[in-house]
């Protein structure tokens, strides 16, 4: 098979926005990049989808028991900042606090250009901050984060599950791209 790793991988992006128009837009934009897309309308629904049930009585890192039986892999989360109840910022914090999810790249979108808001999000781990309306050129910036993220997850997964080493997942001519990773020998 001559196709490289990049074309074989299907990235799954979770998009979160309380605006029905913006949900439609972001879904279309992501699909033009051939990503698999799940769109949800709130931070609460996003947490549910990710298996992080926001329960006051439990630790926020507590994962529901169902997670291991229906693992839904998400490669990137793109979320609106201003949402009622659980904001995009709240979502970012919860994801970064979760052992299971902290390595998933998170991107924030906002209609308001507030430098302190932007800096705050980036400081707390957001990979990008897009000003709305989001453009195709913004969505094009997601790919490197997706590529980096997927490979790291694959590597960790292999170590945890003692599955076949990473080099068997990568075609030989691709290994040199990921020069910040150590191959499992």
């Amino acid at each position: 098979m001559s196709s490289g790793l990049a074309t074989e991988m299907e990235f799954h992006v979770l998009a979160v926005d309380d605006s029905i128009i913006d949900r439609k837009l972001i879904e279309r934009l992501l699909k033009t990049s051939s990503y698999q897309v799940t769109v949800v309308e709130s931070g609460v629904k996003a947490l549910e989808f990710l298996g992080l049930v926001d329960d006051e009585n439990t630790n926020s890192n507590c994962i529901s028991n169902n997670r291991s039986t229906h693992h839904v892999e998400v490669n990137l989360i793109i979320t609106d900042y201003s949402m009622p109840s659980v904001t995009g910022y709240d979502l970012l914090r919860k994801i970064k606090e979760s052992a299971m999810l902290k390595d998933i790249p998170v991107v924030i979108m906002s209609s308001e250009n507030i430098p302190s808001r932007i800096n705050n999000c980036l400081e707390h781990g957001a990979k990008e901050f897009f000003l709305k309306p989001v453009q195709q050129s913004d969505v094009n910036k997601l790919r490197p984060h997706l590529m980096r993220g997927k490979c790291r997850t694959q590597n960790q997964q292999n170590i945890i599950n003692k599955r076949k080493p990473l080099e068997e997942c990568l075609s030989p001519d691709r290994t040199t791209r990921f020069n910040d990773l150590a191959l499992v020998q």
Binding site: S19, I20, I21, D22, K24, L25, R28, L29, T32, S82, S111, K132, P133, Q135, Q136
Partner: protein, 162 residues
């Protein structure tokens, strides 16, 4: 009508809407996202905008009709309308919302009522124009787009004529 002529009318009309400031570059972005696999994309997004805006304008009318006006709530609604109009490129509606938010900050009920009237007006204007451009909800009225498609043509993009 000849397809070419229809296509030119469509473009001229779109250009007019851009020149008069009803639409901005974001609308072109929407058109770029429409293709054979998503032929109704612009129509779908604009329809969602109509539904959403009418809901928000209704909520704003009710909120401003209260004894004790909740300015936070009003601001939240206007923020949403500003966002959605920005997302489809409805520039004049968006700008009216920006002004509305400033008046809301002053907690001026009278001022807010005037702003609401203005937003409603701008919304109705852009709605009429967009319905003319795209498929309309009233079946017997043929939009320019429908006429072009019926005549066997493709909906032209601005770049086609550059």
């Amino acid at each position: 009508m000849e397809v070419d002529q229809l296509q030119r009318n469509f473009l001229e009309y779109t250009n007019l809407l851009f020149r008069e400031g009803f639409l901005d570059g974001q609308f072109s972005q929407l058109q770029l996202l429409q293709d054979e696999s998503n032929p109704d994309f612009v129509f779908e997004v604009v329809s969602l905008f109509f539904e959403d805006s009418e809901r928000l304008l209704n909520d704003l009318t009710i909120a401003l009709d209260q004894q004790n006006v909740d300015f936070k709530k009003i601001d939240a609604h206007v923020h949403q309308l500003k966002g959605s109009s920005s997302s489809i490129g409805a520039q004049r509606v968006k700008n009216t919302c920006i002004a509305f938010r400033d008046v809301c900050l002053e907690q001026n009920a009278e001022g807010c009522l005037r702003c609401l009237q203005q937003v409603k007006q701008e919304y109705l204007l852009v709605k009429t124009k967009l319905e003319a451009l795209l498929r309309v909800r009233v079946p017997h009225l043929f939009s320019l787009e429908q006429q072009i498609v019926a005549a066997g043509g493709a909906i032209p993009m601005l770049n086609d004529f550059c």
